[in-house]
Symmetry: C2
């Protein structure tokens, strides 16, 4: 239902680099549920900033190595007003 997010992430890759950490293991370290990790990993929605920071810290990388925001599609953008 919700709009799929624009933000992408590399969580799955990072998990495997980090000693094959499981989703449940990650969920545990950031103190959230397994389902939430799955949803974020699949890009179903973008997490809160706090959660994003926690995840990045588990892998010991800066936040923008985990989450990526695409370029503003230059076309007709940015002008929408009401």
């Amino acid at each position: 239902m919700g709009k799929p997010t624009n933000v992408t992430n590399s969580i799955r890759a990072l998990r495997f680099s980090a000693n094959e950490m499981t989703q449940a293991g990650l969920a545990d370290r950031v103190d959230m549920t397994r389902q939430t990790i799955i949803a974020i990993e699949q890009g179903r929605y973008s997490p809160s900033l706090e959660v994003a920071f926690k995840i990045a810290r588990v892998f010991n990388v800066p936040l923008d190595e985990v989450f990526h925001y695409p370029e503003e599609s230059s076309s007709t953008a940015t002008s929408a007003k009401k």
Copy 2:
């Protein structure tokens, strides 16, 4: 009401550096309301990752120059489970 967030930010400082941009002006550029900007600026809650990226992009700085996540206060930390 809500739990105050752990994340701090430098939005106010960045606004003044950026040609004295007003809150309303910033709200306009990231396509959200003035009230939301105020709330975020005051740290009443932490925005979604997408919003955070948009704000950082307005000021042309990386995300972690706008928002800061404090060190895990080493005290009783890291062991909490349920």
